[in-house]
């Protein structure tokens, strides 16, 4: 009997081996996977240190940061249409309203109502779409003017985004003199951060004054977005920027992040400026990739002055609807580590977030709360900020 007990046969061996394999792998998973030893598996971060050159300064004028005026109306529309994943072209928001009601629209039906008026008669087009759309009075938009100077003294002007409401964007352009700059071909290019309604749907207002302006878009646009460029009367060059770094002029590069965004949008383009003697300035539309990711990407990809992150301008996409999530607190708690010297946030950063940033001691630049910007806790409409220059 005892001999039998100790004789190993193939079946017994496999039985034991199967038990052991399951136990051994589960044990290793549990003991090693979240231990400090696991860090030995991570390759060291290799910095590419791409030289994008340097510029003397960057100056930004906030044309509009108020993408919409009433959170409740916007969120009720989103809720009524089926939530944050519904394709933005289906909402029946202006300028693609077709009179069929919330959540029943389409790009094709909407653009058919106004296409013949674009880009020259944007006010007339807006009058039409106002009657056919859901909550047209709530549409605002995001756009800013970027002025920079190269080290050799050459100056450049660019537009980042072109708002949403034709009416509001037109009003803001006139207020800031953008219409004249476009007419005079002073603005070299329009950069679109991403395809969202509040950043992109106001493009005919830019094209009204300069239909030939070169436009840089992420190469992740959906077919409707690409068609809208044509239907808006754009005749200039379209540069589709692939994910990754794209140098524009010395001291300025854009970076496309291939990320999914609500309302069926994909990819965002943001900007890096390397300001001489100061450090890196990040300019964003919504920064869906997050400011930390944007900063970490800069650290890994490019070389910048003093190896310092100097400033930020734009939406930081934390609580655009004044909602909150504990993960946003992770940002508030960890932003200090990056030691930004000047943070000119607004738009989708959210007022609650800006207040929390200020309370945490982050260098938030306050605004003046004019032209329908709600609070002075961050930079509002018509406010300016300079990096490497006083404004």
């Amino acid at each position: 009997m005892s001999e039998n007990k100790n004789t190993i046969n193939r079946r017994d061996f496999f039985k034991g081996a199967a038990m052991g394999a399951l136990g051994g792998s589960v044990l290793a998973m549990g003991v090693y996977s979240y231990s400090p030893w696991r860090k030995a598996q991570f390759p060291p971060v290799k910095r590419k240190m791409v030289d994008i050159g340097a510029c003397k300064y960057v100056k930004i004028t906030n044309i509009s940061e108020t993408s919409w005026f009433n959170n409740a109306d916007l969120m009720n529309d989103i809720k009524g249409a089926g939530g944050l994943l519904v394709d933005q072209y289906l909402y029946n928001w202006p300028p693609f309203g077709d009179g069929t009601g919330l959540g029943k629209g389409s790009y094709e039906k909407g653009i058919a109502k106004i296409k013949h008026l674009l880009p020259n008669d944007v006010d007339e087009a807006w009058d039409i779409t106002e009657k056919l759309s859901v909550h047209p009075e709530n549409a605002g938009g995001y756009a800013c003017l970027i002025e920079m100077e190269e080290m050799n003294g050459k100056q450049h002007k660019y537009l980042l985004d072109s708002g949403w409401s034709y009416k509001w964007t037109h009003e803001c352009f006139k207020r800031e003199g953008i219409d004249e700059m476009l007419k005079n071909r002073e603005i070299e290019a329009l950069f679109i951060s991403h395809e969202h309604f509040d950043h992109y749907w106001g493009i005919p207002v830019t094209f009204k004054y300069d239909p030939n302006i070169p436009i840089y878009i992420p190469d992740t646009f959906y077919p409707e977005g690409l068609q809208y460029l044509k239907d808006s009367g754009h005749t200039g060059e379209v540069i589709k920027v692939k994910p990754g770094l794209k140098p524009i002029v010395p001291g300025f590069a854009t970076y496309v992040f291939p990320i999914p965004i609500i309302c069926r949008v994909y990819g965002e383009q943001s900007m890096y400026f390397n300001v001489k003697d100061h450090g890196l300035v990040s300019v964003t539309g919504c920064c869906h990739q997050s400011i930390i990711q944007f900063a970490e990407t800069a650290y890994q990809e490019i070389k910048y002055e003093n190896d310092e992150l100097y400033g930020v301008y734009g939406g930081l996409h934390v609580s655009p609807f004044e909602d909150w999530d504990p993960k946003y607190d992770d940002l508030v708690l960890s932003l200090g580590k990056y030691d930004f010297k000047k943070i000119g946030c607004n738009h989708c950063t959210g007022i609650v977030c800006a207040k929390k940033f200020a309370e945490a001691g982050h260098p938030i630049v306050k605004g003046t709360a004019r032209y329908r910007s709600k609070e002075d806790v961050y930079l509002g409409n018509s406010d300016r900020i300079g990096f490497g220059i006083e404004v």
Partner: protein, 470 residues
């Protein structure tokens, strides 16, 4: 005396109408068709009710799963009688039982959580109360309330089956229904409430400005360990517990815990053993993301954020549950020809391989037909919703409809039930510890550790070699 459905699952024999793989294919096609139609009706952002907001849809999906577990595992089909279950047509039976499960679901959400808890306990369970907060829109009021509800559901969907699978219904196993069901329900609900307060309440407490320091622990105690203040850290391990309970119950046939002879020790070991395995999975799936995407960076968003990484652990885990249930429900828990541990190992490997393929397939294609967002890390991208929705349909099909039409239900005879018990006994005797297992066990354990490290080494390369999302 007329019996309720106690023992119905054990005492039913599902007879295939055609040779395999035909019944499995028919079941898959049929359930996928039902999945797609119901997805369009209830969840799809382009469909009718558009509940995939996502939290509203997720809450109902998760609680429906628990309703099914309650009805079958805890209440043993009470108040439906065995004779009715045995004699009713599967379609009729399925319609009635599904309708009952949905009815209880609505009463629970609207009556218990929103009405009772939301009005007399915790305001955040009731969207109307949240709306009274300045600045909160109706959309987020509903989403926050749904989030709280579904976090509770995550815990309950682990503990409800765990009390049956691991604790073997103790100490009420000999009680008749509905006393047994209510006893287990109250016990698991009580435990769920305790764990909810210790894991999720702080997450809800810091949703508000300023942090609710005096009603919840803020910042939460797990902040340093998990590298986030988000409750997703807990969602992750709790989801792994849910998956592990069902893996143990289905493809593992309660192995290895059923090898323990001492009853109380077996139950305690099984309950905490499931948690231990779940934590191993929880840590490993987090590590797998670090190896493929790089280390998480606190404060960032999307696929580099620690809170999303933890959530994604739960999402990855649920991909393992889908093939495990399919293997058990529709493939007769294949294979059965080897010893129990070898069968379990082979099934685990099949499940893991199928889970990886399903994961790739889901992220490569789901945005084309589910109306979800392209990409891994969109905050509104919740693979747990479609996967659990499909699992719910399978549970209703398997438990309420006897796998109709690929199978036919025939009650087992007393001799067949006795033979099953004898077979189970012999199987256990075959794998209980004896010295002859020692060499194999040792070699297997070493192999398990080596395989783990080989997987770590090839993961980054494997991920680089394939493009999941174009």
């Amino acid at each position: 005396m007329e019996r309720y459905g106690v023992g119905y699952l054990e005492e039913r024999k599902l007879v295939k109408r055609w040779p395999q793989p035909m019944p499995a294919i028919v079941a898959l096609v049929l359930t996928l068709a039902v999945f797609y139609v119901t997805w369009w009706l209830f969840q799809d952002p382009r469909g009718w009710m558009r509940m995939y907001t996502p939290y509203v849809g997720y809450m109902y999906t998760r609680w429906w799963l628990i309703m099914l577990i309650w009805m079958v595992y805890i209440f043993n089909y009470w108040p439906f009688k065995s004779s009715w279950l045995e004699n009713s047509h599967p379609l009729y039976k399925g319609a009635i039982l599904t309708a009952v499960s949905v009815g209880i679901l609505v009463i629970l959400i609207k009556g218990f959580f929103e009405g009772l808890l939301g009005n007399f306990g915790l305001a955040y369970f009731n969207p109307n109360r949240l709306l009274q907060l300045e600045g909160v829109t109706e959309f987020f009021a509903i989403e926050y309330a749904a989030l709280a509800c579904l976090m509770f559901a995550a815990i309950a969907s682990w503990l409800s089956p765990a009390w049956v699978v691991a604790c073997e219904e103790a100490p009420w196993q000999n009680m008749s229904q509905p006393a047994k069901g209510f006893s287990i329900l109250i016990m698991t609900f009580f435990l769920s409430t305790m764990i909810y307060f210790m894991t999720m309440h702080s997450h809800m407490g810091i949703l508000y400005y300023p942090w609710q320091y005096f009603t919840s622990i803020a910042p939460p105690y797990w902040e340093k360990f998990a590298n986030t203040v988000s409750g997703n850290f807990h969602v992750s391990w709790i989801m792994c517990c849910t998956v592990t309970v069902w893996i143990v119950e289905t493809i593992w046939e309660r192995f290895p815990f059923k090898l323990i002879k001492t009853t109380w020790l077996r139950r305690v070991t099984a309950f905490f053993g499931i948690i231990a395995i779940a934590f191993a999975l929880h840590f490993f799936l987090y590590f797998a993301q670090e190896l493929t995407w790089g280390q998480a960076i606190r404060g960032t968003r999307r696929d580099f954020a620690p809170d999303w990484r933890w959530l994604h652990v739960g999402e990855m885990a649920v991909f393992f549950l889908v093939p495990a249930l399919f293997l058990t429900f529709y493939c007769g828990n294949w294979p059965k020809r080897f010893s129990l541990p070898t069968n379990v190992l082979v099934r685990t490997l099949i499940t893991a391989a199928a889970a990886i393929l399903l994961y790739i397939f889901y992220y490569a294609t789901s945005h084309y037909f589910l109306g979800t967002q392209k990409g891994f890390s969109h905050p509104q991208q919740f693979p747990m919703i479609p996967t659990i929705w499909l699992i719910n349909i399978w549970l209703a099909h398997h438990w309420f409809m006897d796998n109709w039409p690929g199978w036919k239900m025939v009650p087992k005879t007393a001799d067949e039930i006795a033979a099953d018990h004898a077979k189970e006994k012999a199987e256990l005797a075959d794998v209980r510890w004896n010295p002859r297992l020692g060499w194999g066990l040792g070699v297997g354990a070493v192999c398990g550790v080596v395989i783990y490290f080989i997987i770590l080494a090839i993961l980054p390369w494997a991920y680089e070699s394939i493009t999941i999302i174009h």
